[in-house]
């Protein structure tokens, strides 16, 4: 009876998990079909599969958009880490007044709807001719992710045992040595978690990219959103484009699952 109940719960678990994963599986499956098979109802589970749709997507020039996305996401993540590590360190290890206020300020900027600052940014960029510039996107994504990064990173830094830092200080380590040689190695998993989360948010960002880029600096999300022309069949090629678009982040998330959990949970609850 007990065994039966256990396996019943396990089956229920799998059922829900597979339901949740179904849209993604279906997207990949559709991407491998021909347009005719993709639009068939009832759905054809025995359709001939090929990589033709992926070739067609690559021919539309998705490569350029992927490159732009990579520059903006990786670049902004590096910049966020360069800014957030000193901030978190300053907030958690050196005694400073008003730690709480500074943290509070950082996290409250994240509540500021991007929509509220987009107007001046748009007009300034338009005036100085910096619209459609990937470096601008990089800076904006860094600003977008910095608050969350500071918040999470600080909690990782505050996990560092005081004795280790004390010992390094007694040995005459200066600030840089203390940070780079002593503290950073300990918090490295945390830093990796923060980097992953910043990369995910930057890669997936649509609102700013849609408004501030057109051709040169166009990233993947707005490209994808404008992909459906409304004419002819498009389900299979849309699925192929979506699959390519989500692949980097999904793979990164799968491979670094532990860091993801750590980043979200630890950064959150400390």
């Amino acid at each position: 009876m007990r065994v039966f109940k256990e396996s019943l719960v396990t089956s229920l678990t799998w059922l829900i998990v597979l339901l949740f994963f179904f849209p993604i599986a279906w997207m990949v499956f559709t991407a491998l079909k021909s347009e005719n098979d993709a639009a068939a109802i009832p759905p054809r589970f025995d359709a001939a599969l090929s990589l033709d749709q992926f070739r067609a997507v690559i021919d539309t020039g998705i490569g350029d958009y992927l490159t732009s996305s990579f520059i903006a996401s990786v670049g902004s993540t590096v910049l966020v880490l360069a800014l957030a590590i000193p901030v978190a360190y300053g907030l958690s290890i050196r005694p400073i007044v008003k730690v709480r206020d500074v943290l509070f300020f950082f996290i409250s900027t994240r509540f500021l709807p991007a929509a509220a600052s987009i107007l001046p940014i748009f007009i300034i960029l338009k005036t100085i001719g910096a619209l459609d510039n990937i470096n601008v996107m990089l800076l904006l994504y860094a600003a977008m992710n910095l608050p969350i990064a500071v918040w999470m990173m600080r909690s990782f830094f505050s996990e560092v045992p005081e004795e280790i830092v004390e010992a390094a200080r007694l040995d005459g380590a200066n600030l840089r040595t203390e940070l780079v040689r002593v503290v950073l190695p300990i918090v490295l998993p945390g830093v990796a978690a923060v980097a992953l989360i910043c990369f995910i948010f930057a890669w997936n960002e649509y609102f700013l990219a849609n408004l501030l880029t057109t051709v040169e600096a166009r990233t993947v999300p707005p490209f994808l959103a404008s992909f459906v022309s409304g004419r002819g069949q498009f389900l299979a090629i849309l699925s192929a484009a979506s699959t390519l678009a989500v692949l980097p982040v999904v793979l990164a998330g799968w491979l670094a699952q532990k860091q993801l959990v750590r980043g979200l949970a630890m950064g959150a609850v400390k």
Partner: protein
């Protein structure tokens, strides 16, 4: 504060030693934790700390706060991009439009109902999934991996996949599945836009909530649960009186982070419903005014009011959550 004196006194025995070794360095309270010898040294340390914090702070202020101040200035201007030479100061006119027109309240309602429902539903579903995936069973690692994936999927791609592959009235899988049970096709996107948006958001955010709650479940001491079981508490009783209270801070932080992200939700609305049928949230309304209506002054006024509303909400949530972490942590 009594708690502080405990951590600042030098360890005097093996027991005290063990406890301080586990004390994290950081503090939520603003008092310096270690007594600093000499005013000059203290000043130097403070200067150093400020030097470390300043670059990040200035960067954030430059890119988020100053544009917002400019938005406030814009909100007092009559400025339509179609008539760029007629920019002039109009006082509170734009705000009068915000508060007398029907759009603002409708939009506020859309924002609150969409955010509220999506957060609540994904939190409950996330809790359910977290409990299920916390059990030991064959293939648990794979099940977890699959379950977190919706959170990783780019929202623009998620919106498109749901709009066309899942919910389309002709070729969508949802209608096809419903058809197997003899239910007529539903025009999700046109007839139930609000449900559509909430559905997609719940799909994306359930894994997010689940991740945080699962970490909470894993941090629960197994010995406490065992002791409770030995004392004759059934699994339901244990869940209600031990596990749920333990999960409370995790649920709170998940709600906070989820609300931050969902309050600004834009992508599925722009891609799926274009703000129809009660899905015109504040971000979408503002976008529409500014970039379709080209009315900068109006849009700015909507933006300012949206920020005030959001920050007001944020303050209430943050204060309560922070106080739990600040006070709860120190004690």
């Amino acid at each position: 504060m009594t708690s502080n004196s405990e951590t600042t006194t030098p360890p005097s025995g093996p027991a005290a030693d063990a406890s301080t070794a586990r004390t994290p360095l950081g503090m939520w309270n603003s008092k310096p934790r270690q007594p600093v010898a000499g005013g000059a040294a203290a000043k130097q340390t403070a200067r150093l700390a400020r030097g470390l914090v300043l670059p990040g702070l200035i960067f954030t202020i430059l890119l988020t706060q100053i544009p917002f101040v400019v938005t406030i200035i814009f909100s007092f201007l009559q400025w339509n991009q179609l008539r760029p030479d007629e920019i002039r100061f109009t006082g509170w006119d734009n705000y009068a439009v915000v508060f007398t027109g029907p759009d603002f309240l409708r939009s506020l309602l859309a924002t609150v109902t969409i955010t509220g429902s999506a957060v609540l539903l994904s939190l409950l579903l996330g809790l359910f999934l977290a409990v299920l995936l916390d059990r030991k069973f064959r293939g648990r690692g794979l099940a977890r991996t699959l379950a977190i994936t919706p959170f990783l999927v780019m929202p623009a791609a998620a919106a498109l996949v749901w709009k066309w592959l899942m919910l389309d009235s002709n070729v969508g899988m949802v209608n096809w599945s419903l058809g197997l049970f003899g239910i007529d096709p539903v025009q999700w996107n046109t007839n139930y836009p609000w449900v559509t948006i909430v559905m997609v958001l719940v799909w994306q955010y359930t894994p997010f909530m689940m991740l945080i709650l699962m970490a909470g479940l894993q941090s629960q001491g197994g010995d406490v649960l065992e002791a409770a079981a030995v004392d004759g508490a059934g699994p339901v009783r244990v869940f209600w009186s031990l596990t749920l209270p333990h999960l409370r801070p995790y649920a709170e932080i998940a709600t906070l982070l989820g609300s931050i992200m969902l309050l600004q939700v834009f992508d599925p609305i722009a891609i799926m419903t274009k703000g129809t049928g009660g899905t015109k949230t504040l971000s979408y309304l503002l976008y529409e005014r500014a970039f379709i209506g080209l009315d900068i002054g109006q849009a700015a006024a909507f933006g300012v009011v949206a920020v005030i509303v959001t920050i007001g909400f944020a303050m209430i949530t943050l204060r309560s959550v922070f106080s739990i972490f600040v006070e709860g942590k120190v004690r």
